[in-house]
């Protein structure tokens, strides 16, 4: 039996969808901002709907930055979603002057005006060759900001919207998704299942 998945609140994220997707996989979740629990939990999810600046502020005020740095640094099971992926980066054009956790050596930028922004919908993801968790397929995106280049030290899945962008990153048991696995149908459920260590879902 898995221990509860700890969901770290980042503000206004729609946690109901994340929790429902875990429930369908037979996993229980708790929403908890306690840094001790964020350190010790087997699986931690950093969801993200909202804006970069307020989300960083909330993480700092709950003293969660170091706990997340530690987990990600050690490659322990940590899944970050959309804005949650941006928070791992150095900074974001969405909230100039605010520093991210700096675990991914990249700056987050807005999509160019040549395409419709926000990007809403299903985009084709090309998984990395050497993948543990990430695969190719269609995933659901809802974002205006993205990483346009693969950062060093991570396996990258890529997609196209006004040029290439990073659809997801992985290193060890850390998976950072620009897309929403909880809203990506069977593709997303399979990824969550693999990340939770459910062999059958692979």
């Amino acid at each position: 039996m898995l221990s509860d998945v700890v969901i770290v609140p980042t503000g206004v994220a729609n946690l109901a969808s994340v929790r429902a997707s875990l429930r369908r996989l037979g996993a229980r979740s708790v929403v908890d901002a306690d840094p001790v629990r964020a350190r010790s939990a087997d699986h931690v999810i950093l969801p993200g709907v909202g804006a970069f600046g307020p989300a960083m502020q909330q993480l700092r005020s709950n003293d969660l930055g170091d706990a997340l740095r530690e987990r990600v640094g050690e490659g322990r099971p940590t899944l970050t979603i959309c804005l949650g992926m941006h928070i791992l980066c150095v900074d974001s054009e969405e909230s100039p002057g605010v520093s991210g956790l700096g675990l991914v050596d990249a700056s987050v930028r807005r999509y160019p005006a040549t395409v419709r922004v926000p990007q809403f919908g299903w985009n084709r993801v090309e998984g990395p060759q050497s993948s543990g968790y990430l695969r190719s397929g269609y995933a659901y995106f809802a974002n205006a900001y993205r990483l346009s280049r693969a950062p060093q030290g991570w396996d990258c899945a890529m997609a196209e919207h006004g040029g290439p962008f990073v659809a997801a990153l992985e290193r060890g048991d850390v998976v950072a998704c620009q897309f929403h696995p909880e809203l990506s149908g069977l593709y997303g459920a399979a990824l969550l299942g693999r990340w939770l260590g459910q062999g059958a879902a692979c």
Binding site: V12, V49, R116, G121, S184
Partner: protein, 251 residues
Amino acid sequence: MLTVRIIPCLDVRGGRVVKGVKFQGLTDAGSPAELAARYEQQGADEIVMLDVSATPDERRTAFDTVRAIRGRLGIPLTVGGGVRTVEDAADLLEAGADKVSVNTAAVRDPSLVDALARRFGSQCTVVAIDAVRTETGSVEVVVASGVERVGTDAIEWATEVARRGAGEILFTSWDRDGTREGYDCEMLARVSDAVPIPVIASGGANSAEHLLQAFRAGASAALAASIFHYSETTVGAVKDYLARQGIEVRT
């Protein structure tokens, strides 16, 4: 590349789907959650639930309906109908909606769009615009289920809500709604040219070809109800047709 989206719409009143649904093999043809799950299996890219409750008692059941759909649905859910305030939207998001759609309340008080975008982000904020053509060829906003003209140009209103932070526009031709004559593609082209955000086509769909026309006119997504509810076609069959026509769809 980003694919076009096909969005079945469920009209729900008092917790039940109101338009007759004639699917084979449904245990409960009026259950929004069961129908939503069926559409996901067929390949729907998203679901819109429109609460058309007529009384406060009926409306209170909407949150339970959203929770029930969310429990089964692994794709995005937009909920609209009767959203008046930021708190209404917060309650729907908490119950399991991924996006909330506002219509009449935003026309009455446009600052509601700013307030929603500020609190939840543009990616949660959908503005539904119901429009009719006028005698002079312009396109005008209507509210209160199409009965009231407000004297606002629909293209200007679309531009304004985009500026105020709407993440997408659900654009319904009230002239075409229920006619099965196809979407008003000329109107769709005008609105999608005018705004930098995605536009969902709505009103009048009766065939896969109608959806193709909407996408060619610039729509990012197409909403349809009766053609799917009555099993005249399936989402999968529409996608096969679109793919043959060279439109990228999620498979």
